[in-house]
Symmetry: C2
């Protein structure tokens, strides 16, 4: 085999980034591999309109992915279509045809990864999915190989660039959530339907994949406690800063004797931590290992080229394995090491909390709130109120000491029914640094 042939299915941002890198960086890639990694087919519904990078003039161009999957000369299919229906069908067909697969599809791998991996292993082909989490950060390589000897006990990640961009814009400019979101949509940073990003579902898929890599845990994404960032406003950053914290959409995983806590939610994190310095569309992952202790990984979360690097790096690894005649089938889902695949109920976790209220001011408010906390055996830590004018919509904050989240949730639910509340309290956990 003089060269390994690749078919690229999907010519959106990631597909075009992948083609660009394979074309421009071809000499260095060949030098590293010692053989040619050659794109021989590309597929897209709009393939006729695409301008391919130089060197790809003679490749098969098709709008039908079957042409790629059924091409006997193709060794690896890169699935860069996204979504869970066509992508699934295509990956299954490629595996059945004995082709290795590289995918950037977080949603599909989070939902169907275990089954797909099982079929890949049974067929003796390789599967790679570095691009599915935190585009430019090679966290798969890190967890699969770099620190595989360690026992990961916890991780915290910022895994959705869009929501991080929105939060850091609110933080920098004091602009309201809705205004920043509209601007992000105008700039193309957020989608017309922004829910996957701002409600945490995109980050949740990524956390499910990381949980598999880090803990060998097959988790159903919808079992992960998930909250979005819609309620975070400039006022919350003002209070958070007063507390020496900032606010980020944090993906957290923590292993305990009884199982794993998994959550995606906006949280206060100390400004002194490296994680708090992650701005804009960057992603970052903090990993705590039992032996190697803390490691931290940072890079661009998305974009044609950073994600393209992940796809190309996967193609190189898989191509090497094909050349060596023996695919390395290391499924992150193949090792079930935990007693249960369901994350522990988040209410059993202990956390300090930030509660932000908006009330109609009148005497007795603190007393009413404090008595609810006392009733739930929750210890109040501090009461903060920044200067304000509007007595009919008065914001202030109570922080509470670490306690079981169930008690906090019950207290907050009861507080929400009080007649002086302008809106339900906003409750954000204060994540301890790992």
């Amino acid at each position: 085999m003089q060269q390994v042939n690749v078919g690229i299915v999907g010519l959106g941002n990631v597909g075009m980034g992948t083609l660009t890198i394979l074309a421009e960086n071809a000499a260095e890639i060949s030098a590293k591999l010692g053989f040619q990694l050659q794109v021989t087919a590309v597929c897209s519904r709009s393939v006729a309109e695409k301008t391919l990078p130089p060197g790809l003039e003679t490749v098969l161009r098709t709008a039908d992915w079957h042409d790629v999957v059924n091409d006997p000369n193709i060794h690896i299919v890169a699935e860069l279509v996204g979504g869970t229906s066509i992508a699934k069908e295509m990956i299954d067909a490629a595996i059945a045809a004995g082709k290795s697969v590289v995918t950037a599809n977080k949603e599909l791998m989070a939902l169907q990864g275990p089954g797909i991996w099982d079929r890949a292993i049974a067929s003796g082909i390789n599967l790679a999915m570095e691009a599915s989490v935190a585009g430019g950060i090679p966290i798969h390589a890190v967890l699969r190989e770099g620190i595989s000897g360690d026992r990961v006990v916890a991780l915290q990640g910022i895994l959705n660039g869009t929501s991080n961009y929105i939060l850091t814009e609110i933080e920098k400019h004091g602009t309201d959530f809705a205004v920043v979101l509209a601007e992000a949509q105008r700039l193309g940073y957020a989608e017309a339907d922004p829910s996957a990003d701002i409600d945490g579902y995109d980050a949740r898929s990524k956390l499910a994949i990381l949980a598999a890599l880090a803990f060998g845990l097959q988790v159903v994404p919808s079992d992960i406690h998930t909250e979005g960032i819609r309620r975070i406003g400039p006022i919350d950053f003002q209070y958070a800063h007063r507390l020496g914290h900032t606010i980020r959409l944090v993906c957290a995983a923590r292993r305990t004797q009884d199982g794993v806590f998994l959550s995606v939610r906006p949280a206060l994190i100390a400004q002194s931590t490296i994680l708090a310095s992650v701005q804009g569309a960057y992603n970052a992952i903090w990993v705590r290992g039992q032996y190697g202790q803390d490691t931290f990984y940072y890079g661009r979360g998305a974009g044609p080229n950073p994600t393209g690097v992940a796809v190309v790096s996967d193609l190189m690894r898989v191509a090497r394995e094909i050349r060596s005649g023996s695919p390395q089938r290391v499924s992150p889902f193949a090792h079930e090491r935990l007693a249960t695949n369901r994350p522990l109920p988040i209410e059993l976790q202990k956390s300090a909390y930030y509660l932000r209220f908006r009330v109609q001011d009148r005497p007795g408010i603190i007393a009413a709130l404090a008595s609810i906390l006392a009733e739930k055996h929750v210890s109040l830590d501090a009461v903060l109120q920044l200067p304000t004018e509007d007595k009919h919509n008065l914001p202030f904050v109570i922080t509470i000491e670490p306690c079981e989240e169930k008690a906090v949730a019950e207290a907050v639910a009861k507080m929400a029914t009080l007649d002086f509340m302008v809106e339900p309290p906003l409750a954000l956990p204060m994540e301890r640094p790992l």
Copy 2:
């Protein structure tokens, strides 16, 4: 093959850390691998005095490494002895005996890596050296696999924990270099002969290995421009802070059209960069890729367990490859992609500079220095002088705008001869953030 057998040679910190992790984390390691990774022999000159972790009661204990290398049941030899003589002999013997090798030996791999890799590849065995650079940070896995599709254009690293500890102690407490060094020696953070750490030679070996991984460059470590930290004092941190910077021992690599600049030296780096936040014995590496742009990696630079994780992770990877019947021989030295293996002379690089003087105060000093700078066509940026009493040993700082380092070096050499100098000027580059 039901299990893969490992012989550990060297039972110092790293060897004992490796044994501890293999013993304590055995269940998780087996679950990840799907087979047993078994230590069957350990070797140390003082093996009789060593207490091994539970489960290793029946392993071969020997003081002669030949017993390990010649044991027909052993598949992988872990060379954790260090140094360049016995280690070299042992690795060569292991390769000749058809055993794969895992090593933590930065000095040997920096000096003799290319030849050792060539022999390993010729013998069809595998070689792994994750532990040789930045113990707890899996930078090998990152560069070899995670972002292998990218074209690295530059990197900056803090790769020596001892010197970083010393610098951050001087910074925090305003203590003199000699005092901090003595304390570090007392605590066991610095060796009795501290030269390898504080004069930059340890970091230089690591940079040579990173240059191979990142650029495919076989570089002789002594060709790397290297300066140590002996002259850095509290006063330098005071001035650096005034300039919005801090001082770290920075390993820098930058690819240009003409070749690669490599240097290890104390440098000013902006406090706003993540690299500047690296404290104490931590290591960090900032990588700039042409496509993936910035990624950043952070973790413990040394220690039995963090380095042990690197060794164990390498053992797992090599064991998988042995089991799959086809070692993946990816030599970082096998691909020569650069026109020359010699780094470019550092004097050709352009840098801004921090010049710190100690002078006998008298009129005309600035004029004398400024005229030397003008003569070399170097532009003065600012003159800083913090309040001080001692007119006979007056410190002050001149910063200069980016210019060719050759001109700065010539100017500084000429300045050193001026009769009002109490000591030669200290010249530190101000590293641009990547």
